[in-house]
């Protein structure tokens, strides 16, 4: 189930040869995984939209326009307006900014911390490993959303708080998976050699173990991006996420339920944005995982489910 010890795992770093080969890799990747490519494209598009929000949004998302309150999609406001006349399209675009920023930050923070911790666990083993494993089990004993809610209840509801709360829920995953990888790499001949020649643990971890973890790390990060986006949206929907008036997709959904039958455009478009973005990143993540190490796939899933075995 774990990577068979005899063969070194496939590395993610593409050939550092002539420039054309990176592009070539991408093309080959796309041809083999059409869906993932599309997902990647949509994902990149969303990122671009988020970054270029000030340029793309037709109106200021925070500006109220009292002459056009509650208007359905029309020529002037392509996705309609909300109860105070703010343009829905602009808010969805800026929502992308906030949601993606939160998701990326949380995933990078959480996965990185988790992975580094996992490397340390896998390589050092012993008591450190034992205690760390228990801590991660404790973290994983909480359902994601509930843990995030409890943490944000404690530390407040600003942007940083939400990022922090979601990041904490991602740590155990990185810890578990990267630990397994580190465990197997530890037994490799060249690592043994490094130890024998007197290298410090830290040196070995950084120069020999870490590089091999990049591939699984990338897979982890992309796979969890979608989850992070949904958690952030759920927090916003429940009213414990990033506070208004900053538009986030979750907030917008919650704010839409202010009348008996809310204007459909307010309830539909933010949710659609969430779905498409999560879909895109999930497909991308799938493709990356399939490419980087297909042997890892079902085993990987099992590991994600809580590798309690070596």
């Amino acid at each position: 189930m774990a990577v068979r010890a005899a063969e070194p795992p496939v590395t993610a770093v593409p050939d550092a040869g002539p420039r054309g080969s990176v592009l070539g890799e991408l093309v080959r990747f796309s041809r083999r995984n059409m869906l993932a490519a599309i997902g990647g494209l949509v994902g990149v598009l969303t990122i671009v939209v988020a970054l270029a929000a000030p340029l793309l949004a037709p109106y200021d998302p925070l500006k109220a326009d009292f002459r056009h309150m509650n208007k359905p999609p029309n020529a002037q406001h392509v996705l309609g307006t909300d109860q105070v006349g703010r343009d829905t399209l602009s808010r969805v675009i800026y929502g992308a900014r906030t949601s993606l920023f939160v998701a990326f930050s949380a995933v990078i923070l959480g996965t990185t911390v988790g992975s580094l911790w996992g490397v340390a666990c896998g390589y050092l083993r012993g008591r450190f490993d034992l205690v760390s494993q228990r801590i991660m089990e404790i973290l994983q004993a909480f359902p994601d959303l509930i843990l995030a809610m409890a943490i944000s209840m404690a530390i407040g509801t600003g942007l940083q708080a939400v990022i922090f709360a979601i990041a904490i829920t991602r740590i155990p995953f990185g810890g578990r998976v990267i630990r397994s990888v580190a465990l197997s790499i530890r037994e490799m001949p060249y690592v043994e050699a490094g130890r024998a020649s007197g290298g410090s643990a830290l040196r070995i971890m950084v120069f020999h173990v870490l590089p091999q973890c990049i591939a699984p790390y990338l897979v982890l990060a992309t796979t969890h991006l979608g989850v992070a986006i949904v958690i952030e949206a759920a927090l916003g929907f429940l009213g414990v996420g990033v506070p208004p008036p900053t538009p986030t997709w979750g907030n917008m959904l919650a704010d839409s339920i202010t009348a008996l039958v809310p204007p459909w455009w307010l309830a539909f478009f933010p949710g659609l944005a969430i779905t498409l973005t999560v879909l895109a990143f999930n497909l991308l993540g799938d493709g990356i995982r399939d490419t980087l190490d297909p042997r890892l796939s079902p085993a990987f899933l099992r590991m994600m489910a809580g590798g309690r075995r070596r």
Binding site: L35, R134, I135, E137, I138, L139, Q140, A141, F142, P143, D144, L145, I146, M149, A150, I151, M153, A154, I155, G156, G226, V230, A233, A234, F237, L238, G239, V240, L253, I257, L260, V261, P262, W264, A267, F268, G271, I274, T275, L276, V278, L279, N282, L283, D286, S297, P298, L301, R302, M304, A305, G306, R308
Partner: protein, 318 residues
Amino acid sequence: MRKYLARRAVYAVVTLLGVSLSIFVILRVLPGDPLVAILGVEGHARMTKEDRVRIMADLGLSAPLPVQYARWLRDIGAGQLGKSFFRGDTVAELIAHRGPITAEIAVLALIVSWIVGLPVGILSAFKPNSMPDGVARTLSVLFIAIPGFWLGMLIVLALLFWFGWKSPIIIVHVWQDPWQNLQIVMGPGIVLGLAQGAYIARMSRSCLLEVISEDFVRTARAKGLREGLVVMRHALPNALLPVITISGVLLGFVLGGSVAVETAFGVPGLGRSLVTAVIERDIIVVQNLVLLYAVIFVVVNVLVDLSYAWLDPRIRYS
């Protein structure tokens, strides 16, 4: 096996203790004042410093933290799950009254996920890359991406708009009136079940694909056994194992997801109580409910582990 059992049990207990400590630590840092909800807006405005100290003491919020933690554990051990700050309702009553609803939702979700996910996954595995497989995989990926609470929101709006229908407003348990009860749990159960089903479809598909190419299945086929038999006796059990494992993880998704989905459907379940308690900063309720969720999750995962270990000969006979 026995050693494994013992070890696992010890780990579980340690985890639970750690869980309780984490909850306690997390929740003792908070801005906002539960006293406003208790005294009402006007009352809080007219409260003096001495009043405040006295009321905090009454509610046990002014003892030193380790003492509060110890008292909490002792109370739980004694079966006393505490009272809400507000209205004096006990958490035990809350769990007894609303717990069954959330439990039903979880069970319904599980059933739906298996009924929907397994057949789809199996079919996909047997005809990989065909059109139905493509459709199934697309739908799976779609249902994983759609936020459950959004889907719930849309369904509620659609039902309200087109049929003027909204689910029953007070809790009716399944032993009181099954049809009313079903109306309450149906929405969240199905929505969560579909999302779970998508995971199961993918999982079983990839596991089956792996197994199908394995030697022993090929051998069975070569021996001339019928396809169906091959599936039933050889492939299926291997696909089921990881599905069981992942169901444990998916329970976590359901417990967490039910919080948002219950809110979207307006179902009076435990998840919604948790959200209300978080917003009202009702510490005792949040503490004990989160503990409950974590305990359930840990217990289920231990059971899954044990069943996995029992089924895996490597561990069973060690």
